[in-house]
Symmetry: C2
Subunit: 471 residues, 2 copies
């Protein structure tokens, strides 16, 4: 029978007035009372405890028996002696687990969940990831356990550069890659680096990603909204902002799904060169494209102007907290320094696992598989919608225009009450006062199963119909 | 034969003037030239590429043969076709891996490494950790893959509270635990929270941990040094600083190894209550103790005054980047919010693994094993030293006093040239101007093998002797 070994500080005074047995009983009883030994937790085998404290085993057996008799402990044949549940009396000090609401926790999942921006985590390639972790742990270098290179471990930087150069047409040098924990941290690190260069204003897409804006604002930058139309960011308006940097989603604008048009790409790069400005390229879900040619990353055209940001959140799972930056030479050292200061570098084992995962071609395999699944979900969604949609050629979400006069916010609320999670596109306009957008919904199809799409949309359409009938 | 599947955007124009075969050859050649396909990387099987692009397999075979002939590709029987090394010509754009010096990278390991503050990573319980990871991945909830609770996943917070309450005598409520990536991030998060409450000054131990000071300063706090003697922090001097918080290492002062004396503990808690101040307790290596009773955490005496900080860096491995905070009720929400803003929460899989590791008793087992090993190393070190030492009863390092007149900094430099890494205690005095400490060395024995200790010390003593003879 395997017993849990035990790390438990207990002071025994030898040669004092109180017998050791009494001291042991008192110490254990106090530990239970104060919550140091929580209800249900196992005690060490008498043999182990005796050895730890230099006591005879018989003495420990006696102490346990006393506490069993008092109701502090329970014992079942063939299993460890444990702290009793419930305890005698009610004098435990430590509070039970409170379930207070905490910031950032997603609400419980609704019946029909069209949340955008997340992949279907049920598709996570757990077996391949485990294999990669095993390979990382089996590596022959002990460096994998020491403080990591804060910029990211070299094998991961090489594997990422190789992957991105091939799949996303970047021009990434591993020496300019910085591993981080996702877009939120990337924005903080780059924001700090830009602030340190004296930059004050950064342009962002409107509509855009509200959370990204918070991340950038946290580093002290002033955000300037620039409008987006169906050809992507309005570069003519960008040029009038006086901003020293801009955050864009050129491959698949969030949330409109627009692709930055070729002439706009050229104009954006020209603007950056003219203004000595930086372009932060959020390449958040570019790997998912269905009916169109892939759009290469802007970074490949101007590696000394573009900060490329990608992450595993959409292509694998958000819980991995793995992201990456490809940086211009002028920003690499300062961003790496900011990463060191923020958290001494990302967890190393998982970086090595990512490297092994990429090298084995497991990401390619996973994307090949999931792309087909998401494409089917999108097709089912389009068929169910029979409506005007935008941004459908790629990604994990689309926009559907609502009939004029529909109060989109109320529809979203009514849907929530009916077990359907959808989002109003309005929420993505940081500055809605300027020109209120026509009503539209954002529907994500990454996290909803194929068979749930049609019934969910039917229910949504019924709600829409009711709301139009009763305005 | 298993082939790597392939995610590679290649534009083929159908119905245009150029034959598809020519387009494919041109596209692959360009990909090699620009570095999108790096030397040595495998190409997909002809069958796979043909299916991907809707081409006949024969056409793809022809294209590969052409590129083989041109020297772009190489093929070995029974293995994938690969990009050739070296390439024909030299027009590759992507630079090779540069090995520029980067911040925070530890220097290459010397022959005799007495670096303090790290465990022996060769002792890392890789098998048990892998088992814990497997258990985390095999859990029945998909939530393990979604964005984590930024405060830390609940099983990890419960397992940590249970462990700390038992082993460190804390009074930790899981609802007040925040998972983070180690002391550096903990200091940033708490520093931000204190600044947000209007706090400006924080007292720190002198001598103390220089890196911690940087972490705290980064959040905008002014640091006030307070002297440490052989009974720990001078509370009388602390009371005169007007600081609203203090960072202490009560169980094992860093670097002197002093234990905060009982009357000082009481005085510190009294000061905090009187001043409505917070105590940040860095419990960095309290699990390693040899000749003395364990000293319980201060947090257990005043859970609403003390911010408890611990991490896996000393007890398991720094590369895991796992740390934890136990917070007063008044600080929990704001620190959790800061964590959300910093990185959206720590990687979830590893938190679940930590929970499984703790629940299985694997940390207790690991500590039991390593404590015996480190105790032996310390004993060997003490024997080799035959000198006045301090802080020997616990931890992974000790201080050894040098004879008066020895120039400690020069000795450290001479030792480094001779393949011995030791540190001058002087480096830990943030404000050495006040009273220059008598010369002493800091010797870590966590990362050096038992058999290397004696020869390393002998070599060091020889150097010391030479330096005294030739001042």
């Amino acid at each position: 029978m395997k017993r849990t070994t035990f790390d438990f500080p207990l002071s025994l005074e030898r040669g004092g007035g109180e017998p050791l047995r009494a001291q042991l009983i008192r110490g254990l009883r106090a530990a239970v009372h104060t919550g140091r030994l929580s209800p249900g937790s196992p005690l060490p085998a008498t043999r182990v405890l005796a050895a730890d404290f230099g006591l005879s085993r018989g003495l420990v057996v006696e102490a346990y028996e006393q506490l069993l008799a008092e109701g502090y402990l329970t014992a079942t044949r063939g299993s460890a002696t444990r702290v009793a549940i419930p305890l005698p009396g009610e004098s435990r000090v430590a509070a039970p687990v409170a379930t207070v609401p905490r910031p950032g926790l997603p609400p419980p999942r609704p019946r029909f969940d069209f949340r955008p921006g997340i992949p279907d985590v049920a598709l996570f390639p757990a077996r391949a990831w485990m294999r990669a972790l095993r390979r990382a742990l089996a590596g022959d270098s002990l460096a994998v356990f020491d403080y990591p290179d804060p910029q990211g471990v070299e094998p991961a930087r090489i594997a990422l550069a190789t992957y991105l150069n091939r799949a996303r047409a970047t021009l990434a040098d591993p020496a300019r890659v910085v591993l981080c924990t996702g877009f939120a941290q990337a924005a903080r690190l780059v924001g700090e680096a830009l602030r340190a260069r004296g930059m004050r204003r950064i342009a962002v897409e409107d509509p855009g990603h509200a959370e990204q804006c918070t991340d950038l604002r946290a580093s002290g930058l002033e955000l300037v909204p620039v409008r987006v139309d169906d050809r992507g960011l309005r570069i003519d308006e960008l040029a009038q902002t006086g901003a020293g940097a801009v955050l864009v989603t050129p491959a698949h604008q969030y949330p409109t799904g627009a692709v930055l048009a070729p002439e706009r790409r050229a104009a954006l790069l020209e603007w950056a060169a003219r203004q000595d400005a930086f372009i932060i390229e959020d390449d958040y879900d570019a790997e998912y494209r269905y009916d169109r040619e892939p759009v290469g990353a802007l970074q490949g055209l101007a590696p000394d102007r573009v900060v490329y940001v990608g992450s595993a959140s959409k292509v694998l799972a958000p819980s991995l907290r793995q992201g990456w930056l490809v940086l211009p030479a002028s920003l690499t050292a300062v961003v790496a320094q900011a990463k060191l200061s923020a958290d001494r570098g990302s967890p190393a084992l998982e970086q090595h696992a990512l490297a092994a995962f990429l090298e084995a071609g497991d990401l390619d395999r996973h994307l090949r598989r999931t792309r087909a699944i998401y494409r089917r979900r999108r097709d089912v969604l389009l068929e169910a919608l029979e409506a005007r949609t935008r941004g459908v050629a790629a990604g994990l979400h689309l926009l559907v225009d609502l009939p004029d006069g529909v109060e989109d916010i109320r529809l979203v609320e009514a849907a929530a009450r009916d077990g359907i999670r959808v989002y109003s596109a309005r929420a993505y306009y940081a500055w809605p006062a300027a020109a209120p957008p026509s009503p539209a919904l954002l529907l994500g199809y990454g996290g909803i199963s194929e068979k749930d799409i049609e019934p969910g949309i039917q229910r949504l359409v019924r709600l829409l119909w009711e709301r139009r009938a009763v305005p």
